[in-house]
Amino acid sequence: MSARSRGLVTEALLLAAICAFCVFPFYWMVTTSLKTQVVALQSPPAWVFAPTLANYVEVLFEDKVGVALVNSIIVAVSTTLLAVCLGTPAAYALARFEFRGKTDLWFWFITNRFVSPVVLAFPVFLIARDLGLRDTHLALILMYLTFTLPIVIWICTDQFRSIPRELDEAALLEGASQWRIFRSVCLPLAMPGVAVSSILAFIFSWNELLFAYILAPKNAKTAPAMAVTFMEGYDVPYGKIMATSTLIVIPVLIFALLASKHLVRGLTMGAVK
């Protein structure tokens, strides 16, 4: 074997190791979810066994994980839609108009990325309690705007900037209003950015735990908060926990792969192009 091809083999092995490192926990999660409690509690753990879907049936219909997943979908979809409706006009203004305090405004939008939810959770808990919003979808939908709105604004501003200004100017000469230019000319062209930011906003809302855990303990309980409750008690049902985890993680992984090129951009909020 020549030195070059040996180098290639080493590199391929390294890549395979990286992939295995990233993917193995998911493999283990899915296989454990297909084990009965008896198989899950084998020591040493079994790699080959007869798979069963009993855990899924049980968590979905008996343990209300199904309800929690529906809550998660309601909250994540609503907050994403709301963020897009509020965020795209703002992003358009940041991309196209000059005004005083623009940099400060921009900076304020982005710094929300750094604020820990634990700073906001308790005051919001008190406010929500007084307004009768505790344990409602609405409370979570609104609080998730603290991260979905900045992400939409940030990604869409970039997208609007990439649309040639000549289009706006031509429409302006035709007598179109700013709002009409935004609605009918630029927004349709900015759809890729809207799609990417929606996917990211959905992923981040879907994954959120702290607000959900504190603000929605019962009726509006989301799937991650539901998964936490399984760990309480002595007899830890491994198969059921992993079935719930699989149900929670599959949608985000699909979305993450769809937006794989942009996920890092979304997590860094402009710190990296």
Binding site: L8, S116, V118, L120, D168, I241, A271, V272
Partner: protein, 292 residues
Amino acid sequence: MTPKVSRLTLAAFLGPAVFALAVVGIAPMLFAVWKSLHFFNLTKLAQQKFVGLDNYAAVLTDPVFWQAMGRTALLFAVSVPVQIAIGLTIALVLHRPGLTLWKTLTRLALVLPMATTYAVVGLLAQVMLNQKYGVINQMLGWLGVAPINFIGDPQNAFIAVILWDIWQWTPFVALVLLAGLSTVPPEIEEAAKLETKSNWTVLRHVQLPYLIPSLVAVLILRTADTLKLFDMPFTMTRGGPGSATEFIAILIERVGNRQFDIGMASAQAMIMLALTILLARLYIRLFYREVR
């Protein structure tokens, strides 16, 4: 040409977003500042009163708070250098030409850990690290290592959190650094590779200057995220055993949500927020000066 727009148009475009973020982002924060100046415990509402800066004084002299801060700092100090070292290695491998399909697949695999619901990552740790039934101990057994009680032992639980943090965030660091590597102009990189055979020299003198912005970004974001870290250790250990993995966000959650002392929790949260802002500014100053 910059279109001049009336204030009314500007307000129509920006107003809703600004208003919404002010209501959900700023208002609760101001309310938290106000509450942090009070004795405010949900189980002792009758004793509610204004105490000025007493909560802050109590937090700053509270060893439990500083221990949690210390733990958070230790987690950061151990896991971030490892993430940068492994991440940079992965980025350099992916940056090399050739094996394109493999590299595309690897890049897709790298996206998975950081997208995974953080709470589920903690649950996975519970299952995989169990002393008796866990697959990690089985694998260690193949190497001749006796089963380790990862979750039940204070020191091991801390190590387990570090390992899991490294698993989830190394791919992120790798992809950020890979983006940084692609900002090196190809002709400069080519020229340097003709000059020297040492990959290290190329890295140190050609690629590193272009990597500084990415490294600063990694430091800032990992600092903020470590201070925010709640979901993964919470589902994994609940901050235990004892308080071995009680990081700052978990401590604040415990004081506010399980001890109902919202005044104190708010003071802690404010101090943490101030620290986050301070550190972010410090990094930008320290590193960007070098580039200029």
